[in-house]
Symmetry: C2
Subunit: 366 residues, 2 copies
DNA sequence: TGAACAAACCGTAACGGTTCAGAAGCCGAT
DNA sequence: ATCGGCTTCTGAACCGTTACGGTTTGTTCA
């Protein structure tokens, strides 16, 4: 838009004061401390402001003086389509936005430019604090945030010395899911997971890459699965794990296809997110595999669509996750010890998990 | 989080300069114009900065001086759950975020505090421009935004004198949808719509409220429907319109229930959004009504779930809508004439619309 | 030898506010 | 008459930076 500029130079508090023949202090008070001047004068100030097209005190100048920006920054992964297309991520965003709204502060989405390591946006953001969500632990943007002298809360990330943290107990949640499968009798399983590092690898994942994964959540879930299945006598090196860089239903389906093509005998597909699981479900249907009779499929997150699909999954309160992060950050004023909030999770057994068919059933039907 | 503050008083550019025995300009240049000083000195500056814990130039002070905030504001409806739960709205958000990322500027979500008319957040936002999306045309926050001397783009809103605008041609799109229904032979129709004003009304909508609706999109769609059906000989006052304040599938279902209970003879349910239509679809199923044999249902927006459900709807490019708004805003520098971008829409006939059954069929079966 | 010019660095003046310690004026109480 | 206490308004300092137009220093070349 381009409404006409009233004057060559925008009116300022000083010019208003001059016009009125009062001090700048008084004009400032007219806006910020109505009790500090007579009602008549205040009215006169506001009227003159309107006449001169003065839009009120400049927010940036005010921020500089008061040392408050009235906004919190959110550092999101460079992968915006993930952040906006995954209901779990959107839930976190919504929760955070709600917390901010409650506190009357803005939410400043910081662009994490993909590819080029341009961290300037982090430095340029005028915010009172940061929330960091779902970025790899070696992301330079994260480092830049930690550099800034403002409070920070990290969500779904590994602990950083002295920094507040919010997240579910991925470890325990994954173990309970794995135990559910072990209890059902599954020993030949396959895993579909999200991106593990900043470089793309739409393929099977060797052990080394699993262990060195830079996305904390994925690494934790894989490790917990490995530990639990090892304890049940399954050699984890022999378990196929397929990774996908993009996070959507179609990629979930293609990952399932890739895995099932190579390992047709797996009895369960463990997916590290519901979105991937929904894709796997679609692929199973395409292959004529009945779920859960022929194939067990599990997800992670507990999004609404998964519930509708009856997916066995681990539910985590995503909205609450965002809210907690926001409240933690906004209440961080002069707290001393860093705080960690662990969110409850819940194993939700749906209609997509069941005991594996025996070998005989496989060949001769139930 | 609360990392230890290195010094009582944070280091500034000035203190750094003093420590180094150079001018502030030089330190500033070390960060902003490396070519303006010798590499050795620059290295020394940066090293000393690290040693003193100087985090680089303060973003707010810089913004004040350069008159650039490096962020655009987004004024969203107070109804955050709408903004984050409706895929169409999330699509706009994503598109806008993408445009911002391309330009390397942040996206500042401005809280539009519900209820209390606290417009302060708009004044407090340090941004270079605003995008306004899906707020009622009498919202005080919108007025506050227009007050601010920065470029503004409004999305899905009525035109405002001299302000850039992005939106689909709701009028034409709705007419094409209505003509589709008229062509099929529907004359007894009902309408489900989203909130029409800031006050809550989960009920039938009298003509006056339809015409005075403060949500531009809803008003336009209703008006276009009215005009088209009137032209086909349908008296619009006799057409039941049910409004819902909240926007989700369940409310869509309850609205359908309310309407069908009162007007069991309608042959088509026209919904002003896909979300409502999905709810109507669910309610139809619950009643044992076959769609489209017994009841035609149409949506609006063309979200993915609607496509999957085979819904007859009008598709609009939501991602593009957000992107366009962003690009328009970011390219608004010294443009003179305000610009209006009208996005293409497309009637997508799915499997939820068909000719109405005749009266006989109604009573005696097909 | 000195004029011309580039590179490196600097001083000052904003940028547009808020804040705090008073000053001025007025009033009623002592 | 003095004093204290209120209300109302002011002056000056400060927030941390960058823009602008210099000055200084060193090199090159006629």
């Amino acid at each position: 838009m381009n409404r006409p500029m009233r004057t060559r130079r925008q009116a300022t508090l000083a010019s208003l004061a001059a016009e009125l023949g009062v001090s700048r202090t008084t004009v400032s008070n007219a806006y910020n401390r109505p009790d500090q001047l007579s009602p008549e004068l205040r009215k006169r100030v506001l009227e003159t402001a309107r006449r001169l097209g003065y839009p009120g005190p400049d927010p940036v100048a005010r921020s500089l003086r008061t040392r408050k920006a009235g906004a919190v920054g959110l550092l999101l992964t460079e992968n915006l389509s993930y952040a906006f297309r995954d209901p779990a991520a959107v839930g976190v965003l919504e929760g955070l936005a709600l917390a901010c709204e409650d506190a009357g502060v803005g939410l400043h989405l910081v662009p994490a430019s993909p590819g080029r390591e341009d961290v300037a946006a982090v430095h340029r953001a005028g915010v009172d604090g940061f929330v960091v969500y779902s970025v790899p632990d070696d992301d330079p943007h994260l480092a830049a945030v930690l550099q800034r002298p403002v409070p920070t809360v990290i969500v779904d990330q590994p602990e950083v010395e002295g920094v507040d943290r919010v997240g579910p107990d991925d470890e325990a949640a994954t173990v309970s899911l794995a135990n559910h499968l072990v209890g059902l009798g599954h020993r030949q399983v396959g895993v579909l997971c999200m991106r593990l590092a900043r470089d793309r690898n739409d393929d099977f994942v060797p052990m080394s890459r699993q262990q060195e994964a830079h996305y904390h959540v994925q690494r934790t879930r894989l490790a917990a699965l490995a530990r639990t299945f090892e304890a049940a006598g399954v050699a984890w090196e022999s378990v196929p794990v397929v990774e996908r860089f993009e996070h959507n239903v179609d990629d979930g389906a293609s990952a399932a296809r890739q895995l099932l093509d190579a390992y047709p005998r797996v009895t369960a597909l463990i997916c590290t997110s519901d979105i991937l699981a929904l894709g796997a479900l679609a692929e199973a249907g395409r292959r004529g595999l009945r779920v859960p009779a022929d194939l067990t499929i599990t997800g992670f997150d507990g999004i609404a669509e998964a519930t509708r699909a009856g997916l066995t999954t681990v539910h985590q309160p995503v909205l609450e996750k965002g809210k907690s992060a926001g409240r933690l950050l906004l209440g961080a004023a002069d707290r001393v010890a860093p705080k960690v909030i662990t969110l409850p999770t819940e194993l939700r057994v749906g209609t997509t998990s069941a005991p594996p068919r025996t070998a005989e059933e496989r060949w001769f039907g139930p």
